[in-house]
């Protein structure tokens, strides 16, 4: 009896000590694949979403991960005749830890894929994808998933509503393509200057900006862009790397703009691809 109690105590101690080890190995990022388009029509693009869900505090990386990390990659096996048209990725968050700046996704990230369909479509179609990512919190781990989506080309009513909601949710996470109406992009020394006269006049004063470049090794992402206001116009100054040899021709990335409208702060994201004059 005494031995049994000792064994029970030992087991209890082991269980109390074990959780941190167990917790370290439990999945913290999961991925699932869902259709956005509910009916597949020959010749009309079809949309599929891959949704990442991340445990609190864990993150994955944007297509330009920043100073560390790697982007998530997708290796698709498609039905015959199908081809990838585009991938849309949610806008990132700026993450600075120990002086290292990265662009990350937290909590949930919905990637939207658009595929070209062939002239003839089988009754059932299957999409397979192998996904690799880096998941980090205080430690970093490689993540991997192999997902499969099989759907009837005719679609189902069950899919319709869920897909519509998910598609709308995904769109809210993306940057809207935009252009600087009446604006101007130029380079001055180690800065890219974006003039934003049109924004001030029409949509409320800009109070904060950030820029997430698509191109790596051009911008000094360790420094946030500066916002300068002068005589009714506002200028965004995006720092370049100090030892940059080649001048970029295009400002390509996501501009995050925070505007004040009354007591409200309105955040919008604009996908920019502007020629630098």
């Amino acid at each position: 009896m005494a031995l049994s109690r000792r064994i029970q105590s030992l087991v209890l101690v082991c269980l109390l000590l074990a959780p941190p080890l167990i917790a370290e190995e439990t999945p913290v990022v999961s991925a699932q694949i869902l259709p956005v388009s509910t009916i597949v029509t020959a010749g009309k693009p079809i949309e599929v979403a891959v949704i990442f869900s991340m445990t609190d505090g864990w993150h994955t990386y944007w297509q330009n991960p920043g100073e560390a990390g790697i982007p998530t990659t997708f290796d698709w096996t498609l039905p015959p005749g199908f081809s990838l048209i585009s991938m849309q990725e949610p806008v990132p968050l700026r993450h600075v830890e120990d002086g290292i700046t990265t662009f990350i996704h937290e909590e949930e990230a919905i990637y939207l894929f658009q595929f070209k369909t062939p002239p003839e479509i089988p009754d059932t179609i299957q999409f397979d994808v192998k996904i690799d990512w880096l998941e980090c919190k205080s430690i970093c781990r490689a993540g991997h998933a192999e997902l499969s989506l099989t759907m009837p080309s005719g679609g189902t009513a069950d899919l319709a509503l869920a897909s519509k909601r998910m598609g709308e949710n995904a769109q809210s996470q993306f940057a809207a393509p935009g252009e600087l109406v009446g604006g101007h992009v130029s380079r001055h020394r180690d800065m890219i200057i974006v003039n934003t006269k049109a924004f001030v006049l029409n949509r409320g004063k800009i109070v904060d900006v950030d820029f997430f470049p698509m191109d790596e090794m051009i911008y000094d992402i360790g420094r946030k862009p500066e916002l300068k206001s002068r005589f009714g116009s506002q200028t965004i100054r995006i720092p370049l790397l100090s030892d940059l040899e080649d001048v970029p021709e295009t400002l390509h990335g996501v501009l995050k703009i925070t505007r004040r409208s009354g007591n409200d702060l309105i955040i919008s994201h604009v996908l920019l691809k502007e020629t630098i004059n």
Binding site: E67, A68, G69, E97, I100, C136, S138, R141, D243
Partner: protein, 202 residues
């Protein structure tokens, strides 16, 4: 008395000099000098290696990218090949105590032996000073210092940014290319690339 009065200003100037060097860290410029202790308690001063090529490898044995290059035998192969050619190879860990990658000396020795690591020394940079002087961002993050003490290469180890062991064979190894060129007296083609890996856990 006079020497003691000068000591603190000298230390401050030296520290600020290295901090200034970090901001100006570029290929062709002087590599920040440092003294770090290895896992056997021996001190290594970068200046001791003037006259030789020195590779600085920022390391974290628990980082998936470091695991990629060690589990594949890639990093050890490079270490063996180039230390045999009189290159000094210093692995530096700048993880803060309690953070991923920071281990006791006995554990470092065990893991290094398990991997068959062939670096000249594994140096501990617990307070991250040297990592920050070099602006080391990732593990791995590679630097090559030439015999005159100047930066000859800085950046990634190769051109395939992944955690997959199977990618090593098909990748262009920037460090090997740089060392082969430098040791042959030729110009290094790629002197600066973007490093990839886990963030250094300062």
């Amino acid at each position: 008395m006079r020497l003691k009065q000068l000591f603190l200003p000298i230390v401050i100037i030296a520290l600020f000099s290295n901090m200034a060097l970090a901001k100006e860290l570029k290929v062709g410029k002087k590599a920040p000098s440092f003294t770090l202790t290895d896992v056997d308690g021996k001190e290594h001063n970068l200046k001791d290696y003037l006259g030789k090529y020195v590779v600085l490898e920022w390391i974290n044995y628990d980082c998936p990218f470091v695991k990629k290059h060690y589990n594949s035998g890639n990093m050890q192969s490079l270490q063996k090949k180039y230390t045999a050619k009189d290159v000094v190879w210093l692995a530096i860990n700048s993880s803060a105590p309690g953070k991923q990658g920071n281990f006791e000396n006995a554990e470092i020795k065990r893991r290094s032996a398990e991997h068959g690591a062939a670096f000249t020394a594994y140096l501990k940079d617990d307070d991250g000073r040297v990592g920050k002087w070099y602006d080391a961002k990732t593990t791995p993050h590679m630097f090559i210092v030439d015999p005159k003490g100047k930066i000859a290469y800085m950046g990634g180890i190769d051109d395939i940014k992944s955690t997959k062991v199977e990618d090593v064979a098909g990748a262009t190894n920037y460090v090997a290319s740089a060392l082969d060129a430098a040791l042959a007296g030729n110009k290094i083609a790629m002197t600066s690339t973007k490093p990839y890996g886990c963030g250094v856990k300062y």
